[in-house]
Every structure is written in structure tokens, then in C-alpha cells.
Symmetry: C2
Subunit: 203 residues, 2 copies
DNA sequence: AAACCTACTGAACAGTGTTCATTAAATCAA
DNA sequence: TTGATTTAATGAACACTGTTCAGTAGGTTT
């Protein structure tokens, strides 16, 4: 009897249908402006049904986040392929910047949105782990080969990420306006900033 | 007749009473979890009254934000007093970090919270301007004296701020958990990261 | 004392996340 | 095939949210 298998499959399909709709609407309108009722409307089910598949709106967020990190990882693996670790590091930086600038709502979801504390904190340790391992390995290789002016890989990782995240999140949350930069220059300036940073950390 | 003056004074007092309560509750519970009704309760007025003094919840946010930037400016002026611009830059960096770590909710309000687009964008150009001028001047002085490995002050400002903001905001929004650092080390690591950054940008 | 003005409020509107008893349908056992 | 049981889905409700507005009480002016 394949009934239980089919049911399990249907359950997974339903879960997927929900997060597909959720992802779509989160990107279109943002997390806060997307209501469970809107998502329910989109998939033509009642709002209560969603709660049969996801415990609450946060769990929905984390599911979408997970898919987003998969996308970022794919992007890294596609765009940061250089064998030279230093060059690869630069590719990663540029890739990160582009990813954030091209998918601001997605970036928001992954790196900015308030992480509610009622959820298992473990999520933050698993979601995105692979992405960070990839960066970590590249940084480690650079340091091992003595290519960087960093000694401690933790400091290097922290700094590298902080620079990337700082740049993207200031743009995504409109905080650069205070610097009164021309809107068109911003993209170019960010890339220059990363270039400069890479230049600075090179030994 | 001092009646109109008294009334004006009372109006200002009421405005102040409202944002005092708002600031207090924003810091205690965060912006999103603070409702107009809660604020109204705290000052023992009806929710509708608040709308006589502030157009909407966002305007309340910007008023609180303004006070917060005043606080940050005071902090800078108190803690970053060195005559040597390079040393002063370091003091600013440390000061910024401490400010963010000691007042995470305030920091959130100032630099992370989604800036609604229905508000006059001009706010983002005025709120915090003084703080940035101060940093800008120090950076400018450093560059003029040839103390930094940056040429373009805009890139320098962008990078310096991105590093600071990146570090603080990753902590404030719990994104460092993925790096599995010991909770106690974080404060120290952030300061080391800033130290390293200053070291890197020194000519 | 009557008119006016202004500060304030209660009640309502449309929306939110979430829960739960009830219903309808699919599955299972006889 | 029929009856019992499990499962999936829902409508309605609850307790919130930001915001608006007609109505009121009281101080101010004429």
C-alpha cells in the first residue's frame, strides 16, 4: 500500500506550495507586509490550513531563509571559482555584494530581519552554515598561505563579513542617504569599497 | 497675555512626555512590540491623543531617532577627543562599537529598522547628519595628512562606517551565531576587529 | 452669561497572527 | 459494501494592531 507514501508526498508538496507562495510574496512586498491571509489567498486555502504545515509565521520565515541560503551558496559556487584563494575571496566579496543589491528583500530576510527569540536558536546555527564554511575555507587558505595581513581566521571572517554586510545593509535599509551620494554612484562605490578592502588586507 | 505662550509650552511638554514614554518603551520592548495603546497607557491618555501631537507611529520613531543621534554625538564628543586624527578615528570606532553593544535597541532604531517610504525621505538626510560630519571631518583630516591608505574620502567613510555597522548589526540581529563563537568572546572579538581594521588602513 | 475654541476621548474600521470546534472526505476494518 | 475511524480543511472567533472621527467637557474670549 503506497497510500502513506503518497500522503507524505502530498504533505511535502503542500509545504512546498506554501513556502513558494510565501517566498514570492516576501520578495514582492516584504515579510511584514505579507500576511498569512494573503499567502492563504494565493494558494487558495484557508489561513488556518497554513498552521497545519508550519507552526507560525516565523517558521515560514526560516523555511524561506533556508532556500535563500541555498541560492546564495549556488551563487558562490557559480561565481567564485578561481583557484587562487585571494582571487576567489575577491569573487566571493563581489558575489555577496551583487546578491544583496539584486535581491534586497531576500537579503533582508536572510541577514537583517529581527530573529524572534521564541524560535529555537539552533536555526541560526544551521541556516547558512554551508555559505559560511565556504567563505571560511577560502579565508583559511589565504591565511595559511600567508597572503593576508590577518593572523586569526575568526577575526578575518568577522571583518570580511562585517564589511560586506555593512555595505549591503546600509544600502538596503536606506542609511546611506545621510552621506548624500548620487543614487547612481552607489553601486560603483560599493564595489570600489570592496576592492579597496581586498587591497588593504593583502599582505 | 501669556496664555498662548503657556499653551505652546504645554504642547511642547506633551510632545516631550510622549517621546519620553515612546523612547523608554522602544528600548524596553522594541519598536514593533510597542503599540500606540501601550504608550497612551503609560502617559495616561487615550491613544487618539497621541495622534494630535504626532502624525503617525513613524513620526514618533523619527523623533526618538533624533534624540538617539544627539546621544551618539555627545558620546563621540566625550570619548573621541584626541588631537591626533588617527587616534581620534580609533576612538570613534571604539565609541561606536560600545554605543551599539550597550544600547542594542537604540542602535536598532537608528540604523537597522526599516525606514518606511511613506515618510519624507529628507529625514534620512537630516537625522544623524552631525554625527557623520564629525566622522567625515576626522577621516578627511587623516587623508589630508596622508595617514591613511585611502585616497577618496567617500570610500573611506563608506568603508569605515560599513565595518562598524557590519560588526554591530551582525551582533544586534544575532547573525554571528552561525560562526559559533563563544558568547563571552564576542565583545572582545569586535574590538579586535576594529583594531585590526585601523591597523590595516594606516599608511 | 453666551459664544467659541481647543484638548481630549470612545467607539469604530480594517487589518493582523493564531486557535479551535466543527465539517467533509478519504481510508480502513468488517 | 457498509459502518467506523482517521485525517485534512475550514469558519468563526479572540485579542491584538494603527488610525480616524464624531462628539464632549472645560477653559477662554467676547
Amino acid at each position: 500500500m503506497g497510500i502513506v507514501e503518497r500522503k507524505e508526498r502530498e504533505k511535502q508538496e503542500m509545504r512546498q506550495r506554501i513556502i513558494d507562495a510565501a517566498m514570492h510574496m516576501f520578495l514582492e512586498e516584504g515579510y511584514n507586509k505579507t500576511s498569512i491571509r494573503n499567502i492563504a489567498d494565493a494558494i487558495e486555502y484557508s489561513p488556518a490550513t497554513i498552521y497545519l504545515y508550519y507552526k507560525d509565521k516565523d517558521e515560514l520565515l526560516y523555511a524561506v531563509q533556508k532556500e535563500a541560503f541555498d541560492k546564495l551558496l549556488e551563487t558562490f559556487e557559480r561565481e567564485a571559482t578561481a583557484l587562487d584563494p585571494l582571487l576567489r575571496l575577491e569573487q566571493i566579496g563581489k558575489s555577496y555584494l551583487r546578491f544583496g543589491m539584486n535581491n534586497p528583500e531576500l537579503y533582508d530576510l536572510m541577514f537583517i530581519i529581527r530573529a524572534p527569540m521564541n524560535v529555537d536558536e539552533h536555526i541560526h546555527q544551521t541556516n547558512g552554515r554551508d555559505c559560511f564554511s565556504l567563505v571560511m575555507e577560502t579565508l583559511g587558505e589565504c591565511i595559511d598561505k600567508g597572503l593576508l595581513r590577518y593572523e586569526d581566521p575568526r577575526i578575518a571572517m568577522l571583518s570580511f563579513w562585517a564589511m560586506g554586510h555593512g555595505l549591503v545593509s546600509l544600502v538596503v535599509r536606506c542609511r546611506l542617504k545621510v552621506l548624500e551620494l548620487a543614487e547612481n554612484d552607489i553601486d560603483e562605490l560599493l564595489h570600489k569599497a570592496i576592492d579597496e578592502y581586498i587591497r588593504l588586507i593583502k599582505r
